[in-house]
Each structure stands twice: as structure tokens, then as C-alpha cells.
Assembly symmetry: C2
Homo-oligomer: 262 residues x 2
């Protein structure tokens, strides 16, 4: 079955083989590449990620989305063209043993964070601090018994660099792929001042969360569970022990797939 | 003499009385209030901040600016209308005992940061970690002997909240003045998740800088010198000892005033 993670800036795809119960990460498509360049319809981009052989075998897909409505409209119509019906999963108050910490308005918790919580609860039989470093850096506390204790949302690296460009007259146009170095040091020019500043803010937020975890997990052991494209880089700078799960969200979607046909 | 700090989002004014050598903070004018509302010319706003009695006594002003060119044009023409000639100060490689850490391109260091370095060197006879929490959060390392070791630039609180609004579909429109609480806690709704996330990133960056200061100051004592509107709030969350200087930048401008007539 096709698993879809429609994120803020790109959509990621994976294939769950129900026979082997294995999840294979297929690839990601940046939203800008199809929203700006209509010469290459999304349907063709999808066929570069998902093989037609897989699509013939299974016409159902399951996904979650925090993407903008324009992205969703195009994604749904392109998948329908390929004969695929998508079951979009919503955040709930309780599911698969996890209790949502947003007690007043559970549906307001991002569905990407919800799926990662479900996936983590199934994979990590331990208190977990989930660090998802993508377009935004999200941090969530999840107890071993499935209680979600809430979390944080911080602008990711590129959003931070953009924010300085917009808010000031002289600090424009730095992009993430210009950054190579791990570790923290004082910046001796504007480029390093800004890129190291973003690194300090992102790693600083994670360090604050790790410190707070003692209180939240009553000084019991916990795992730092890292996912998202920028996660590994940040943890190397922090030199903190962590376990990496690239498919945490997809593991959550796979759990939801069980209920599709039940 | 009128002292002017033309910042990213507002201009701040102070009066230096050369006889008493005292600096009186006069007030600030947000740039949007004159750029958007031409019905109230900047000249009138200035006269609400600076008394005509002061303007008659002294027709020279000294300032530094990181503001956009539209702001500077309006500011200069309005001050000229009031008969005031402004000596805008630029960042240098060396001045008043301070050596700029941007060795390759010293002029690229923000003049607001340069003035704060000059003011700090004169006021604080100690190694200093300067934390200026304004539109951007800037952090600078300054040795007791006047050597500047470089620094960081991080989006300030409102820029971080805006960044999430721009980079994601569902996290829009949170403003700084909605925030009351000190201290850090997991967010149990989207508002708290974002505002606490910004708090964690800003305090986390400062905490990372404090940690790095041991290395930069070779484990010698140092002061955490805090300035900028958001500084006190952040330091209360960090519960770290610090000394507050509201007029650090103006103290730097006052040092430059000595050379105006020499």
C-alpha cells in the first residue's frame, strides 16, 4: 500500500508490503517543483517515485497532511488519475494506545506529529523525547504508557534564515544548502553569524527539551528519538546519544492501515 | 546631543547632556507607524519624543542605523526639517579600544552591534557575553582587553512566530504581545506549542552561548550583559545571573560624539 506524508514543503512517499510488513521509503517530491512548473504534471513525478507495478497491485493509499490546500487538491486529483483512492488520516484524542496531550482541541495537533507519536509508541517501548527536524522542528514528550505530554514547534533551519531576511534590511538570501559545518562557533562574518545562530537556536531548543525531560519523565530513563532530514546534523552538534527512525511517521500510518479494512 | 538608534523595526532616541555626561532615554518610534500612516508626519512624532527646547540648544545628532533605506530617507529629511544634522556612525576595524572580530570585512558587522561593543568595553571592565534581544537576538563575545571574538544572529521572538506562519499552512498569526508566561513547559495547544518553542529556541541559543563562553574566555570569569526589549524576559526563563544595560548602544554613540568636534 502507498503511504503518503504531505508535509509543509514536500510530500514523502513509502510503500508498505502487507505480506512482509516491510516499509520501503520511495522518495520525496518538493511541492514547489509541481506548483511552479506545470510543464511536468505531478502524475509523471509520482510515476518516477511509485512504480506502476506497485500501483497495479494496490489501488488504496493512506496518508496524513499538513500541506496547503492547493497542494492537496493537486495531489488528490493526480492520484485519482492513477486510480488511487487515498484515506487521509486525522489526529484523534486517542488511537493505537496513545492519548493526545492537546486535551482541549486534540484535532489541532498536527497529523504528522500524531502519526510519529503512534509510530514511536509502537517502536520504542520507553519514555521518548521525539525530535522531528524538518521544515519546522517539532519536539514531543511521549511516556512509555502512551500518554503524550505536549510539545514545541520551532521554525526549522531554512525558515529561521528566511525570517532574518524578511525582518531586517541587511541580512537577506542565505540558504540551507550553503551550510557544511557541524559544531558551534562564534561567527566571524555575517554568513557564519546567521548560520551558527540558527544552529545554536535549534540545538539550544533540543538541549532545553532534554533538560526539561528529567522533570516530565520524573527522572526515569528516556530515549531521544530523532527523525526528519535535519535531525542527524543537529544531534551531531549536540553530541547527545539518540536513536534515529527515518520512517516513524510511516510506521504510524501503517498502524492506521490495519483499521482501513477492519 | 540627540542620540539615534535606527533599528530594524523602530528607531530609539536618547539625549546626552554633555555637561552632566548623563544619557536620558527619550523614547522609540515604530517605523510602521510613520511609513504606513503619512497623515502623521515623522517630524511631529519626533517632537513628541524630543523637546523643542533640547533641539534649540543643540543642532547636531549622532546615530547608527541598520534600518531600511526608506526609513533612513524619511528620518534624515524630517530631522533636517527640524534643523538637525546627523553624523551617522559606521562600523570600523578598531575604535575606542575595541578590535572588530569580523577581520575580513569589519564594515559588515551591524553598526548596532558595534556601538554596543564600544559601550560595553567602556562600562564593563570584564570579559562579556553581550545578549541583545530585539527584532533579532544578537550575541557577541567581547574580551576584557577589547578583542571581539565574533557572534551570532538569531531571529527574534516575533520573527520566529512569523516564520512559522509563512512556512506552514496551519500555524499563522501569533503575535508577541499575546505572551505572558515566563519559564518553559510543553505546549498543550498550538498557541503554547509555538510560543514555548520560540522561548526554548531563544533561551537555548543563549544557554549554548554561555556554555561556549568557557572555551572562548579560557574559563576566566565573564559577565552576561543583557540589553534589548526582550532580554529581561529571556534571562528570567534561563534563571542565569546577568547585568542589564538599557543604554549600551547609546553609551557607544556617546563615545563617538567625543571625536565629532576633536
Amino acid at each position: 500500500m502507498l503511504l503518503i506524508d504531505a508535509g509543509n514543503t514536500r510530500s514523502k512517499f513509502a510503500w508498505w508490503d502487507a505480506d512482509t510488513d516491510k516499509i520501503e521509503i520511495l522518495g520525496a517530491i518538493p511541492h514547489q517543483s509541481w506548483l511552479n512548473d506545470l510543464s511536468q504534471p505531478l502524475k509523471d513525478l509520482l510515476l518516477e517515485v511509485v512504480s506502476s507495478r506497485q500501483l497495479e497491485r494496490e489501488q488504496q493509499a493512506i496518508g496524513c497532511s499538513v500541506a496547503a490546500v492547493q497542494v492537496m487538491d493537486t495531489l488528490n486529483s493526480s492520484l485519482a488519475e492513477l486510480g488511487i483512492k487515498v484515506f487521509w488520516q486525522k489526529t484523534r484524542a486517542q488511537q493505537a494506545g496513545v492519548t493526545n496531550g492537546y486535551t482541549k482541541e486534540p484535532e489541532r495537533l498536527g497529523s504528522d506529529r500524531w502519526m510519529a507519536l503512534l509510530g514511536c509508541h509502537e517502536q520504542v517501548k520507553q519514555n521518548a523525547l521525539i525530535v522531528d527536524a524538518g521544515t519546522a522542528l517539532t519536539i514531543d514528550w511521549l511516556m512509555a504508557d502512551g500518554r503524550h505530554l505536549g510539545g514545541w514547534i520551532v521554525p526549522g533551519r531554512q525558515l529561521m534564515l528566511n525570517a532574518l531576511g524578511q525582518g531586517t534590511a541587511n541580512l537577506k538570501g542565505i540558504t540551507v544548502n550553503d551550510i557544511e559545518r557541524d559544531g558551534l562557533a562564534a561567527g566571524l562574518d555575517t554568513f557564519d553569524g546567521i548560520t551558527q545562530g540558527a544552529e545554536a537556536a535549534l540545538t539550544g531548543a533540543i538541549a532545553q527539551a532534554i533538560q526539561l525531560s528529567g522533570r516530565y519523565f520524573s527522572d526515569q530513563p528516556f530515549d531521544v528519538v530523532v527523525t526528519g532530514g535535519d535531525g542527524e546534523h543537529l544531534m551531531r552538534t549536540l553530541s547527545v546519544e539518540f536513536c534515529r527512525y527515518d520512517d516513524l511517521l510511516f510506521k504510524g500510518l501503517r498502524l492506521c492501515a490495519d483499521n482501513l479494512n477492519s
